[in-house]
């Protein structure tokens, strides 16, 4: 199982901040995962409607959509950061 986390408006749009999913083998990259998650519900589809607005961290490291997710235990999706 892989833990998926959502932050900021992605959490609000999906409706919760965390879920556990069993990823099929064909979901190899972050971009694949966004497409796969978008098909889970209308709320997920809304959250991932524009993947260019979404950033990702795999096991707490920032990655780009092409990054492989094989073996990851925690994958987080969020908008561009706005701290400071």
């Amino acid at each position: 199982m892989t833990r998926i986390l959502y932050f900021a408006w992605l959490r609000e749009t999906v409706g919760y901040g965390e879920e556990e999913v069993a990823l099929p083998a064909h979901v190899a990259t972050v971009a694949d995962l966004m497409t796969w998650l978008a098909a889970r519900s209308a709320a997920h589809a809304a959250a991932f409607a524009n993947p260019r607005l979404v950033r990702c961290a795999v096991d707490q490291e920032f990655v780009t959509p092409e990054a492989a997710i094989g073996g990851a235990s925690e994958i987080a999706f969020f908008p561009p950061v706005t701290g400071g």
């Binding site: 932050f7 950061v81 701290g83 400071g84």
Partner: protein, 150 residues
């Protein structure tokens, strides 16, 4: 020699500057960020700061390590508050101490520029009428951080 904190409580910038005093530190540069009520028609009464707890400290440590690799620092402090912060309250503090002013000033600017684009914090504005809105990332912040790679 780096002090990195993520906390809901306020901080005392004077106390933090005092901690960086050191016989080899010729100077300390610091930046204190404050919640701004804003210049627009709708006044911001508070910011709600969300973060990714499992990742935040790791990201801040990575940013501090980069500053330490680029400049000879005798000390370095990063404090970021989270939770609901009212207009006028402190939100972030960064400080860098070094033997000479150029290193301290540059490291301080680098720390705040990178913190804005490379640490997992998100701000939500709360307005006078109770409405809330997520703050959008600014291209100018990305450009400021990227400029350090030039």
């Amino acid at each position: 020699m780096a002090r990195i904190l993520v906390q809901t409580e306020d901080f005392d910038a004077g106390v933090e500057l005092g901690r960086l005093g050191h016989e080899d530190a010729g100077g300390i540069a610091s930046f204190t960020g404050i919640v701004r009520a804003g210049e627009g028609e709708r006044r911001v009464v508070a910011l709600v700061l969300e973060h990714y707890p499992a990742m935040t400290l790791r990201a801040l440590e990575a940013i501090v390590a980069q500053a330490q690799a680029r400049w000879p620092l005798t000390g370095c402090t990063v404090i970021h508050r989270v939770g609901r912060l009212r207009a006028g309250e402190n939100i972030v503090f960064v400080a860098a101490a070094s033997a000479h002013r150029a290193a301290a000033l540059q490291a301080c600017a680098f720390l705040i520029d990178w913190l804005k684009t490379s640490a997992p914090f998100w701000k939500q504005e709360e307005f006078e009428d109770g409405a809330r809105a997520w703050v959008a990332a600014r291209a100018a912040d990305d450009a400021a951080a990227a400029a350090w790679n030039g």
